[in-house]
Amino acid sequence: MSSPEDQGPAPPRLTSSIRFNSLVLGLFALVTALLLATTYLGTRDTIAEAEREAAQRSLLEIFPPDSHDNDLLDDTIPVPKPYWSTLGLDKGGDIHVARRDGRIVGFIVPAVAPDGYNGDIRLLVGLRPDGTIAGVRVTSHSETPGLGDKVDLKISDWILGFNGKSLGNRRREDWAVKKDGGSFDQFTGATITPRAVVARVLRTLLFFRDHGGELVKAAKKATPAAATTTNSKAD
């Protein structure tokens, strides 16, 4: 591309061209880095906001804004380590606490069904203090489109079938898909996915029946911190 004339005399030509090329490369690296930094700084807040909104959406679907008065996203207690495996979590997680006028009105417990047709199905199980299900949502899955993905509320409202059910108002045998003698519909051509979801929700309920008291205790202890975060949010 460059003619010999603008490269200078013959012996130092190689060194000078190396120097020139490195300079060009360095210059470009600098300019592109600057450009990236500007874009990053310009979009950082919008991205954080978008991520927050997305994370909040499922939580607010389970406990709508008028059912509680705290910030669901920030008001959390960690899942105690001994129960990670019970809930299928391999990296732990946070339980979101819903409060109204300082009273606990519910918990949103993360759980993972590892036995989906295509790997993990991540769930959020919303529970009222009495052990009734407030709502279940699938936050991520890779089930077959058109078959297993009906657990996703965007595709079908199957998942709403959990609402209001509890260990108290359903027999133990009902917690299974119809094919296995339970009361939950399976999908045409896909039994594995709903079976995995129902099983994990049941185990979450059993976990809450046995250890819900500990969660309430932990949530009560967490109140002051949560209150300050809520206040700082309001500022």
């Binding site: 060009v24 470009f28 874009t39 978008a50 077959t144 058109g146």
Partner: protein
């Protein structure tokens, strides 16, 4: 050099004759992976168009300043910058779509169509033709994405333009056309093999159309040529 016919040629090349998806067969990985629905296809198509135009423009601007030895690293740097900026912007303003398209946005860097156009066209041509080439190649690629996305969405989900609000906001809430009920879709259309089948059919269709055009053109030219030849032949023999 910079006359009307050259621009027409660039447009025809990008959109049809040398279409990146159907003729050059470049960038097939995202093409096959994200064309399950129209909105996904449109999202990736627009992102690719943006990067392609930007990189062609800048590459053409700096083509005299960068020597051959370092041009490829410089091109890659330029493309990577545009892709990262696009990714950040999508994350900021169309977060849900960004999550659906996921890894395929950063992977635009490796879309050979983009480096291909930078190397084959923008590094040898002026600013205006290079930008136009980027626009036309991007549109050609995007159009194929859209058609495949549309066909797969109709066959697989029975809908068209579902979830367009991911890209256009609440205005697009009611754009969805439902052609037939849920669960009656052709599952294979949504799965990866469907992408290959539809793409293959589109390439075949393009070849059929091209063949038809060529035959018609030949037919229009042929009688004249044959006639004159025959006259000449009889002339020499007698």
């Amino acid at each position: 050099m910079t006359d009307q016919s050259q621009y027409g040629e660039i447009a025809r090349n990008g959109l049809w004759n040398n279409n990146p998806a159907l003729v050059q067969l470049l960038g097939l990985c995202p093409l096959l992976a994200v064309t399950g629905t129209v909105v996904n296809a449109l999202g990736l198509g627009l992102a690719t168009l943006l990067v392609l135009v930007g990189s062609n423009l800048v590459v053409s601007l700096i083509r005299r300043q960068v020597s051959d030895a370092v041009r490829i690293p410089v091109f890659v740097m330029i493309i990577a910058t545009f892709v990262t900026c696009t990714e950040l912007l999508m994350k900021a303003y169309t977060y849900e779509l960004y999550q659906i398209l996921g890894i395929f946005i950063p992977l635009i860097v490796t879309n050979c169509a983009i480096l291909g156009r930078a190397e084959a066209f923008a590094s040898k041509n002026g600013l205006l033709p290079s930008t136009l080439d980027g626009v036309m190649m991007g549109l050609g690629f995007g159009a194929v994405l859209l058609v495949i996305g549309g066909i797969r969405e109709i066959l697989g989900h029975g809908t068209l333009f579902a979830n367009m609000s991911l890209l256009f906001g609440p205005v697009a809430e009611g754009w969805q056309l439902t052609l037939f009920g849920d669960g009656q879709g052709l599952l294979v259309a949504v799965l990866p093999p469907g992408a290959f089948l539809v793409t293959g059919l589109l390439i075949a269709l393009k070849n059929v159309i091209d063949g038809q055009i060529a035959r018609r053109r030949a037919a229009r030219r042929a009688p004249v040529a044959r006639g004159s030849k025959r006259v000449r032949t009889t002339g020499t023999i007698s």
